[in-house]
């Protein structure tokens, strides 16, 4: 990771040195030699950075061919994209292009890099949040199935309980256990304020005979598990969904790049 960072800093320094030389000896324009070099390198970097997608979709072949660790590809994807952005801006003379294709190419490139950076921040932040206060680890795809299982087990326990426990179940648990729920609070407090939500169990426990206490404990355990699953549901979702803001735009950028190259080379 660190070596990629140093490589990026070095490459960025070279690019900025070139920019300085360019400003001293020539104009900053996309169509002169300087501008064409920036554009060509930027295009090459864009294509190379997008190879991460190919690497991730050809795992078997990549492993067999000794294509290296995906982690290295991701590092190149990130730093290569940042360098691409710098060179793109240098290529466009740090101004907004006026042509229709070039404008879209420029704007979507910025969008793709920006969403990529947001995704990276989410990837750095959310796993730490998930690991910080949750005892359970669940697979995102299995969440609906697990919630259903918890709901039916809680219902069975409640049905065999006395009126007080059943009332608590009907009022507080049944609505909460029905389906996976997203709650914004998990972004701030991964426990979802669980202690305050469990207070009612404590009050009721003091009034119950031993047998009912056991049932209440079981309901509390299930409720706790459901809240943790909700936390996973809430926090794992952005880790998947940010890609929808990044990937389609990146495909369009690649297509526009081809179109841009075609127009430059043949018109």
């Amino acid at each position: 990771m660190r070596s990629w960072f140093y490589a990026f800093v070095s490459a960025a320094a070279v690019a900025l040195a070139a920019l300085t030389a360019n400003l001293v000896w020539s104009e900053l324009r996309p169509e002169n030699v300087w501008g064409l070099v920036y554009g060509s390198v930027a295009a090459a970097l864009l294509v190379a950075a997008s190879a991460l997608g190919v690497r991730r979709r050809t795992m078997k072949a990549s492993s067999r061919l000794g294509a290296g660790r995906t982690r290295a590809w991701l590092d190149f994807h990130i730093y290569g994209s940042l360098l691409f952005l710098l060179l793109l801006l240098m290529h466009s003379g740090f101004s907004v292009p006026t042509g229709r294709i070039t404008w879209w190419l420029w704007a979507l490139s910025l969008w793709t890099v920006a969403t990529g950076l947001v995704g990276r921040l989410l990837q750095k932040w959310l796993p730490r949040v998930l690991a910080s206060g949750l005892a359970t680890e669940v697979l995102y795809e299995r969440i609906p199935e697990l919630v259903e299982e918890i709901g039916s087990r809680a219902k069975t326990v409640a049905e065999s309980s006395d009126e007080a426990v059943r009332a608590l179940y009907d009022r507080m648990l049944a609505p909460a256990l029905g389906r996976p729920r997203r709650r914004w609070i998990y972004f701030v407090d991964v426990t979802g304020g669980i202690q305050s939500r469990l207070k009612e169990f404590g009050y009721l426990r003091a009034l119950l005979p031993d047998e009912e206490k056991t049932r209440l404990d079981e309901l509390e355990r299930l409720f706790r598990a459901k809240l943790e699953i909700d936390a996973h549901y809430t926090l794992q979702q952005p880790l998947r969904w940010w890609l929808y803001s990044h990937l389609p735009a990146s495909f369009v950028v690649l297509a526009l790049l081809v179109l841009h190259l075609y127009t430059v080379l043949f018109y």
């Binding site: 078997k60 730490r128 690991a131």
Partner: protein, 546 residues
Amino acid sequence: MSETDPVDLDKTTLRRLEQFRDRWTSDDTDSGLLEISDRLTADEMRKFEIFSEYDDNFLEKISPDVSLATWSEGAVLFEEGTYIDLAFLVVEGEVELYLTGVEGAVASRRPIFDLSRTVIGDPADTPTATEPGTALMRRATRVAPTRITLLATMDFDLPRGAAVRLGAGEILGEIGSMSGWPQSVTARTVTECRLLQLRAPALRLMKRKSKALKQRLDTLYRERSLATQLKSTPVFAACNDIFVEALKEKVELVSCDPGEEVVRAGEEADAFYVVRSGFLKLTQSVGEGEIVVSYLSKGMSLGEVELLIDEVGNWQVGATSVEFAELVKVPKDVFEQLIGNYPKIEEQLWRSAADRVREAGFSRRNIAHAEFTEVALETGLVQGNSILAIDLTACTRCDDCVRACAATHSGRSRFVREGSKIENLLIAKSCYHCRDPVCLVGCPTGAIHRAGVGDVVAVDEEICIGCSNCGRNCPYDAIVMHEAGEVWPQDMVPQGLRGKDRLVASKCDLCCDTGHGPACVSNCPQGCAYRVGSLEEFQGLLEARA
């Protein structure tokens, strides 16, 4: 030998014949194997003395795992350091067994045991203690290859460079094949040989059914290996050959089941124990509860404190077998004779006793350390040669590790990204490739096996009958059964399988036959999937990721 014209056989029988041949010949077509028999009948098998006391049904049952082979002169049957699941009985000819003369051969072999737990330093080589108790978690990096304790891997008591020849009626390879440990010698045919080849499942069943065979194998073990094994432990290394020869007749070989209490704290200490294989958990009472103060693994000993200090006399710790364990029990009087004859050993044992006391004290003062040791024992971390650990603070739950595994193994992942958590590390439900793989025990066809050199445990799907024994035996839920998409033929043996859907055991094989490392690790985009080979590595990872 049954000579059958293939034309007379139906399709299923031909396939079974093919499977039988494949079982014996798939490893190497250029190995010096000149001829291999078809499946032997009970009558054919009974011609060999080793099968004489078994009935027809039993011989029919084990026959798929028995073959008669002719090997050319100079053929290598197995090499030092390799895993095989075969024992050979010499019918005709001579086989030579030898240890590689080059010291480096041993040094380069990857040890399959925990170095830091198998070596007790001698006075000249004792690592300087940093903090009491930390020795437990510290990798003994300064250990020279010659200090490696190869308990339970020795088939023959041979000095390096020497050789021994075995002739008709003698058996070889049985310890390695039964225990799943690598062979300690290389075996090569001196002349053209006819060998009866017994795979581990057959040998195990035969040993269980016949007391005479068990006694014969135990005797062979005492004759061939025990002296070397004892000499290779730090405790007995300094003893002269005469003493060790006498000692091996007096010690008791003890086998423990999982959870079996070996010694109880407070009871009179009547023996000294050396661990041959497996793990012992050492516990002490604290208040009304019990804490794990330490554990013993291969090559380590128990009883120094109790037998050396006169005033102690009773066991200071309780010792319980974690999984299956094999111990050497040295009676108290023999132990006293030992330290009487060898003052240097006594000195070394005093040092070991002091370490044990210090370690116990450290655990009592640091409950977190005791808890980690207990969790490590409970979750099998001490067992694993390659545990898949995922750093949850970096894992984005993208499941690329699972997809990579599936992509490498015909669309079916060999592990689940679920499991127990230790701090922020997830121990995925994936094969640990244990030091003592209990999944190997009880496989009726030997489909689950050590895959060549190294520590990989793999399943040969061609000969797996889907009995689930391995899955049931695995304490870590790392083996699952999946449908192979075919139905067993109507002449299948065992009969119970006929017409049923074929199941196959599925488990991580570390991508050993793909030519690259584990796909789950190399395809993780966040670099948060690790393969951990020892408790020390695991603790190092915990510290690094904290």
